[in-house]
Symmetry: D3
Subunit: 127 residues, 6 copies
Amino acid sequence: MSRYERGAARIRELDGENPERRQEVYAALARIAPDLPRFAVEFAYGDIHSRPGLDPARRELVILGVLVGLGDTRQQLASHLRSALNAGLTRDELVEAVLQTLPYAGFPRAINAMEVLSGIGTPRSDG
Amino acid sequence: MSRYERGAARIRELDGENPERRQEVYAALARIAPDLPRFAVEFAYGDIHSRPGLDPARRELVILGVLVGLGDTRQQLASHLRSALNAGLTRDELVEAVLQTLPYAGFPRAINAMEVLSGIGTPRSDG
Amino acid sequence: MSRYERGAARIRELDGENPERRQEVYAALARIAPDLPRFAVEFAYGDIHSRPGLDPARRELVILGVLVGLGDTRQQLASHLRSALNAGLTRDELVEAVLQTLPYAGFPRAINAMEVLSGIGTPRSDG
Amino acid sequence: MSRYERGAARIRELDGENPERRQEVYAALARIAPDLPRFAVEFAYGDIHSRPGLDPARRELVILGVLVGLGDTRQQLASHLRSALNAGLTRDELVEAVLQTLPYAGFPRAINAMEVLSGIGTPRSDG
Amino acid sequence: MSRYERGAARIRELDGENPERRQEVYAALARIAPDLPRFAVEFAYGDIHSRPGLDPARRELVILGVLVGLGDTRQQLASHLRSALNAGLTRDELVEAVLQTLPYAGFPRAINAMEVLSGIGTPRSDG
Amino acid sequence: MSRYERGAARIRELDGENPERRQEVYAALARIAPDLPRFAVEFAYGDIHSRPGLDPARRELVILGVLVGLGDTRQQLASHLRSALNAGLTRDELVEAVLQTLPYAGFPRAINAMEVLSGIGTPRSDG
C-alpha cells in the first residue's frame, strides 16, 4: 500500500460518513497548490497518523492539544474534533480534553476551543 | 476531600517514585509567590486533572500536545513526559505522540520535544 | 466570602452597567461544559483578579499585554478593554497601552488590537 | 529634543543605577547591526515609551504582559522587570502582575516568568 | 528625504495601482490613534523596508514567513501577498513560498496562508 | 531519484563543507525515533525544499521569517542561517533579513535572532 493509499484509508476512517467538508477544502487547495492536499494525505496521514503504536483516538487528543496551544486554527480544530468523534471519543471526553488545556493554554484559548466544540454535533446526528 | 487534597493525590500518582523535582520547583516558587504552587495543586490538578471522564494517560497526551504547540516550555514538557510514563504510557507511545505533533506544530518544535523526551529515562529506572 | 462570591463581586465591578455580554458567553459555555464558567469566576476572578496588591486597572493592563502577545483572542480582548474602562482607565490610556505593545508584539498584532479597541465605546455611552 | 535623546533619557530613568547590562547587549548588537540598538532607542523608547498619557510603571505592566504572552523572551523579561522596579513598582506588585498572567497565558509561561522574577533583586540592592 | 517620505515612497511601490485598501486601514487607525499609521510609514517602511542591501521582493518573503509563523494575521498576510506581487514575485513563487512554510509552521498555518493567497488576484487584474 | 535522495542532495548543498552538526542532531534523533530524521530528509527537503520555482536562498529567507515568527527555535535558526550562507546569501543580507522581521515579530524576537546570527561565522571561515 502506498503512502497515499495508507493516508487516504486513515482519512476515510476519520471522516466517517461526512467526507464532504474535507473534500471541499482539499479541492479548493488543489486549485492553487495541487501538491498541498497530496502532502496532507501522504505525510500527515500516510506517514504519521497511520503509524502503529498509538490508536487514532489518542492521536487526535495530541492534535487537539497542539491546535489549542497554537491558537488561530479554528477550522482545523473543528475538523479534528469531528475526527476525534469518529475515532471513538465521546463528546463528553472531548469536553474533558478541552478543559484539560485550561491550565496550560489559558482561559482565552480553552474557551475559544470549547466554542468550536459546542458547534460540533455528535457524529451521524443527522442520520 | 478538599481541592488541595484531590490535587495532591493526583500529583502523587503522576510523580510516582520521584517527587523530588516537583517539590524543588514548588519550593522555589513558594519563596517568591507562596500561593502559586497552591494554585497549581488546587486548580491544575484538583479542579482539572483529577476530574473523571478522561483517564490520566489521555490527559497527559492532551497536555503534551499543548506544550509542543506553545513551544518554550522545555521544563514543563520534561515534567509532563515523566508524568505520562507514570500514568502508564510507554516510552514508545510517547515517541509516537511527539511524532504526531509533527504535521501540526512543525519540525522545529517536534524535534525540540523529541530531544526533551530523549533525556527522560523510563520510570523507576534507578530502582 | 467564598471564592465564587469574591470572583462574582469583582466581575460585577468590571462589567459595570453592561453584564449581558459576559452572561451570554458564560451561559453558552455552561450548556456544553457547566464547570467552565464557574472555573473562570472562581479561579480567574476569585483567586487571581481580586487579590490585593495590584488594583483592577493595572491588572487589566497586564491582561491587555498578554492578550496582544498571544494574538488570536479578539473576543477576550474586547471584553477586557471594556473591563479596563470600567476599572477607571480612559480610552486614551488604552490607546497608549495598545501602542506600547507595538515594539514588543509587532505591528500586525498591535494594529489588530487597535481595531478591536476602535470598536469599543466609552462605558455607559448608551445611558 | 531628538527622538534619540528622548529615548535615551527614558532609558536612563528605567535603567537606574545599573545601565551596564543594557549597554553590553546594545554594544554586542551594534557590532553586527549598528542600526539595531539605535532603532530600539529611537522607536521603542523615543517614539513609544516616552509618550505622555501613561506613566512608565503602567507601560512596563503592559510590556510584562506581552512578554509573558509571547513566551521565549527570558532575557527581555528580566530586563523589563528591572525597569519596572526602577519605574516605581515594588517587587510584590510584580509578583502580583506575574500571577495575573496565569489565567490568560497558562501555568507554564507564568511559572517561567516567576522564575525570572525570582532571580531579580530589588533595585539598588548593592548600594 | 525624511523617514516619512522614504517610507511613503516604498509603500507606493508596494501598493502599485491599488493603494486604496491600505489608505482605508490607515485612515481608520488614524481616527483612534493618529500616530499609529505614521509609525508604520516611518518605522516599518522608512527605517526598515527601504534599507538597501535586500531587495523588496526578498524582504516580502521574510515578512511572509514571519506572518505565517505568527498565525492570526490574516489581514496583514493578504496585504503583504499583494505587496509581494507588486515587488515582482509571481503568484507561482508565492505558492512555493507558502509551501516552504509547511515543514516549519505546520499544515494548519500553511493551509490558512494558502487560503489567503487563493483569494488574492494577480496585480492589475482589473485593468 | 527517490524523495530521500532528492532531499539528501539538497541538504548536502545547504550544509556545504560542514555537514557534521546536522549529522549529529539526526543521529541523536535516530536513536529515539529512527523515522524522524528520515521524515526531515524526505518531506522537509525532498518534497518541499527541493521543489523548483523558488531558489534555495529565497526558501531560506522564508524559513528565517517563520522561525523568528515562532520564536523558541534557536538551534534551528542557527542551522538555517548557516544554510542561507551556503545558499549564497551574504552575512550582510542576513542582517537585513533579521532587521526586516523587526516591525512584524517585535524587538525581543528580532534581537534574539540577531544574537544567533552574531554567533554564526562566514561559511568556510576555517578553511
